[in-house]
């Protein structure tokens, strides 16, 4: 029996509808302040998608494009202004930053209450710690957990293997799975036999950025596979000359897995849905307090 496909697009749409509903019950519009430094077209596209999603769900966005050669001081001053701005409930600094800006110092300037990306070290620290809760959880990892929960996958007591340990995906998803009482194994470029590690997993999260690296014979029959990877591979049959694939060899792994997220249409749509969710939560908290 081929694996059940986890439909991220459908689940993300469900969450956006929930967000729109929560917004409609507030007497104000949650606001997202976005900062983008420089002219990277991929960053511009991501931010545009986020603005569009905000608008559709009743959030307002305040966009702050800054020139490629802006001083770090100026970026931090802008963040401080947004920290103080009552119309802004969430702040998003689009990564990567140009080299004159120190990512740690810039992200560390965001008020943890408005840190809707969940990248502030206090929020990561609380995510890591038992009996602590961050103000916000990073969006892509949170989206992975939502996909599991809304697909009725039990996490508690399961063996989860995470491929990748980046600050924005692999590490926080590992911490989240641990908080949900999985037994967690974290693999990375220093892992000698990733196939053997993956083979024992009930839940696999692949976040390595390597096209179709995870093969069918890495997978335990019935395992749940979450594919975070987004890789473009040449494809002459496509108008654009390329197509997007994940870190998992989907077609082959479908034959053994229990459930699998497709690329595109799996984790991808969840990231923005979680950003909206974090923003409306931040806005609700200001109302409550």
């Amino acid at each position: 029996m081929p694996a059940e496909i986890i439909d991220g697009k459908r689940i993300a749409a469900e969450i956006r509808a929930e967000v729109a509903n929560r917004v409609s019950r507030l007497n104000m519009s949650p606001g997202l302040g976005t900062i983008i430094v420089g002219n990277r077209t991929d960053s511009a596209t991501y931010v545009r998608m986020k603005h569009k999603a905000c608008e559709e769900c009743g959030l307002v966005s305040f966009h702050h494009p800054l020139p490629e050669d802006v001083e770090q001081k100026t970026v931090i001053e802008l963040i401080q202004k947004l920290n103080a701005d009552e119309r802004v409930h969430g702040i998003l600094v689009q990564l990567p930053l140009p080299k004159q800006c120190n990512e740690e110092q810039v992200l560390g300037a965001v008020d943890i209450n408005k840190d809707v990306d969940g990248f502030h070290p206090v929020n990561i620290g609380r995510l890591a710690m038992k009996n602590r809760e961050p103000m916000h959880v990073p969006c892509t990892p949170k989206g992975c957990i939502e996909l599991l929960k809304r697909s009725n996958v039990q996490i508690h007591g399961k063996e989860a293997v995470i491929l990748g340990r980046s600050n924005i995906v692999g590490l926080p998803i590992s911490l989240l799975l641990l908080k949900n009482n999985a037994t967690v194994t974290i693999c990375h470029s220093g892992t000698p036999d990733m196939a053997a590690q993956t083979k024992k997993a009930d839940i696999v999260v692949a976040a390595i950025g390597s096209a179709a690296m995870v093969k069918k014979d890495w997978i335990k029959p019935g395992a749940v596979l979450i594919d975070v990877g987004i890789n473009s591979v040449p494809d002459e049959t496509s108008k654009r000359g390329y197509r997007l694939v994940g870190d998992i060899d989907t077609k082959a792994c479908e034959e053994v897995a229990g459930m699998i997220t497709p690329v595109p249409g799996g984790v991808g749509p969840m990231t923005i849905a979680m950003l909206l969710q974090n923003c409306v939560t931040a806005a609700e908290r200001t109302v409550e307090s």
Copy 2:
């Protein structure tokens, strides 16, 4: 061939000598401010041991005992005073705190530069994150890594299994092993088959608080075993009526392991040695800056 014993007492003495040497090269005495709330005899013993160790290595300590029923506000005001006190380079709040004191809020008040226990969420967050470094690393976990390094155990590429995920031991040691490029598996009370997990490990860290729970048949031949557990078991042959044992069934596991830390005399002595090391580092930083 029986396992090599990792002599924590000897290694800790070596580190204390290094600390004393570093202190002698400073034009001042590093200062440790200690806070203890209430009258727990175990806490009093621990703090006394820390003071004694400070004295032996040329550090001064400033002790602040507070009554069991002190208000949290008073504890935090004291921390703020110590944060501002130039003679104090490290601050230690002995845990556990009585219930009227919120551990998160109290520990969060310590200046991260003086957080020689490494428990501040910013320091834990930085410990978790790639390319970030905490101001200080928690003492017991840091001691475990020192034991491995000074015993020439390679960590990079090895499979490390950690039993326990507490904020003060299991979690930070997992993060440290990950930073040192081990493939890391974290087990806890929700792990169904801890024996099977442990069996695959090149490096086992046991921090569960359950006397001699880790058995010989859990161990892969040649594995390195770090026993953090300190458990007292009844013993009529002892004057005190009890003796201390670790989380590992040492005698039996010695027959298969490659290296093992004894209890007592393994990880135990390292904790205070690392506290001294963190303190002198904090003092050196104030001189450098």
